[in-house]
Assembly symmetry: C3
Homo-oligomer: 295 residues x 3
């Protein structure tokens, strides 16, 4: 299933500078972006994916007080369903919202997660896998290192899920001890508290965004100290394989978790990730709608 | 005229799960949603109605300080007119804005109200009428009870207007004394201060949203007290006719003016209202543009 | 080049009440409005221009903290580029952002400025020139007076640029001494500190918006004092040529820099400016995309 989705996404990929693919597959369909926390980048990626398949798109930024949040979210979802919205793309800072919505919405409505708390960010996982596949061909002989605040990262969890499913044999998580996940999580990954061991001879370096308050938790009280210990520099990257690629989900803290010359350097696949993101979202939209047959 | 609009709206209604109707009637036309108070639900309903008729849609959320509001609103409207906007959908918390705009704008521009202060919400009135007609067939033999903060409600006033015009013989308003309208208003309605008499043998129960500050005015100092006196429960609903339907303009305060099992129960027509809302707005857009002949 | 653009823009102009032109020239193309300061009017003008050429449009309102602003702006731009955005329309309160972006983005991406700090607002300059040309036919025999806070105005600078290029022989700037530009700027313009000399026998009066804090700088401590000294009234306008036109970039402070009866009077070309704005933006979009050949 994952590989099928990646194949479909690959068919939507075009080189930068070329026209993106255009399709009428979702003509007459309506996609709603329902975001309760701001994420311009992801919203625009889903919005363009839907429009390039011919769908109508509406954006809703909903601020909900937490007391009534569950109920109001469901009422908003029922409203969208009654407005003949076919696909709801949901981004929420709390756990369980996409699942709750999916459990309550009518069966013909598709729910896509655009990021759920620290739990998962499935289309990010898919675009990361597509990016690795484009650069490395196959995944079943790779070393992949995920570096940073693993503990609080939905990006890391979705990457772990998809890379495990695709048979990556050497999956490493690299973090200060305080930002390591609970022991039960990320089973099968090796754990590294230094970049030295974490990056050695790896094929893929996936950097994560670090929040200021997490540095303090990790006893790396400021950006300089964090960078000194866990920032990706050219020098450190040189300990990985020569053809290693560097990834980052963005937005980047340049000079904190990643040096600018690495982010923009020849090993960087960061812009490929963005381009692949819209292709993956087109594939997922096509998949969920296509499975329903012609309108 | 109202019945004509309802017929046209009915032609745009599709069952949930079916594709909504698509048309090119407004192709090349531009609809602007000009909202000075937030209302995601109504905005999205108008936006989808316009897009499904082929119009271009732009959304403007304008924050205007009250001192310069009248002038700035008109200047914004003149700007939209000069940008070849054909229809302006206006939502405003103050009285008189849609009328002022309509009086000043060029005659070829159509002004639609999406809710004006406590005064009126015309498309809500129409969708309420359409919903009742779908469930009851005819309106000239019905009892309809509107319950809640009648005094401050544009929804109640538009419902009163449309139901009166359509000849509903038994129209009731039900509210705590402090939330009753002035004596001169709602003429022809019977007034009830208890649900017991207000709901007895009624065909339609229209619940309104209550604001916290209004509870205090009604000497029902908190949500529990309000619910105890004016909340719609299954038990209370059972005093209405057996086939009575329940309506609510949303957003709902579940557990305050309406119990959740009633809102989601077999008598609820609340989701039909939403579905009918987009159909009514399509009908109104088609009506105002169609009367001008082909582009 | 300017005259070519104005010719193209003129071909997109329709009378108010007529249908705007529709084209598929930008079908399959994507335009992103990237605004870091709010400007609903300009955003909607670009949005409608792009949609009427058949483009997909996405709107991004980005709030960037100033410390990381440059980097984050570039990362946002790279993201949009990777999402196959063809044209980025950038509005920013700081100097140099459009140039920095243009210097870093891939060559196939077009960057359009929608207003840069106090420096320039190129499409505003073009729409001002188009408006004058429509009313006066030729520009090489005109007197044009720009009145108000010249010092801080991007509108004045772009007007100066375009009117100079088009050979306007008598270009005047009129302002309180404190709001005059530095001596090196606006070379070739005559400088006037009173409306009496500034407006005498002029063909075009371009009023600028004044900010409250600028009045204080000009030792005109309140709106009334500013109006008394630099507000455009019918009486003052009568010292210009009989067929003089009045322009304003909007939003207007009625009763501060311009009297309402002048703004809405027979000499006003203010609404023409708005209508011309969308035509100019269509022309610029068509120009930058058309030069690349068919998709």
């Amino acid at each position: 299933m994952i590989e099928q989705l990646l194949d479909r996404a690959q068919s939507y990929v075009r080189p930068i500078g070329a026209q993106p693919p255009a399709s009428r597959l979702l003509a007459g369909r309506t996609v709603a972006n329902l975001f309760t926390e701001p994420s311009t980048r992801t919203r625009v990626s889903f919005e363009l994916a839907a429009k390039r398949l011919g769908a109508d798109v509406v954006n809703l930024e909903v601020q909900l007080s937490s007391r009534v949040k569950g109920e109001s979210m469901l009422d908003t979802v029922y409203t969208l369903q009654s407005l003949h919205v076919d696909v709801m793309v949901i981004r929420d800072a709390e756990t369980g919202v996409p699942a709750t919505v999916a459990a309550n919405v009518a069966p013909h409505v598709s729910i896509l997660s655009a990021g759920e708390a620290h739990v998962s960010h499935p289309t990010q996982g898919l675009l990361d896998a597509l990016t690795v596949r484009q650069h490395k061909g196959r995944l079943d002989n790779l070393s992949i290192s995920i570096v940073g605040d693993i503990r609080h990262s939905r990006v890391a969890r979705s990457a772990y899920h998809v890379f495990s499913a695709l048979g990556v044999p050497d999956l490493r998580i690299v973090a200060p001890p305080a930002l390591m996940p609970e022991p039960g999580e990320f089973s099968g990954c090796s754990r590294h508290t230094t970049l030295e061991s974490g990056l050695k001879d790896t094929d893929v370096v996936m950097m994560l965004r670090i929040q200021k308050e997490r540095m303090a938790q990790a006893e790396l009280p400021d950006a300089d100290r964090y960078f000194a210990n866990y920032g990706l520099t050219s020098e450190r990257l040189s300990t990985a394989r020569r053809d290693a690629i560097v990834m980052h989900p963005q937005p980047m803290n340049r000079g904190i978790e990643i040096a600018s010359d690495v982010a923009d350097g020849p090993s960087s696949a960061i812009r490929d990730q963005v381009r692949n993101g819209v292709a993956v979202r087109m594939a997922v939209l096509a998949e969920v709608m296509g499975s329903r047959g012609a309108p």
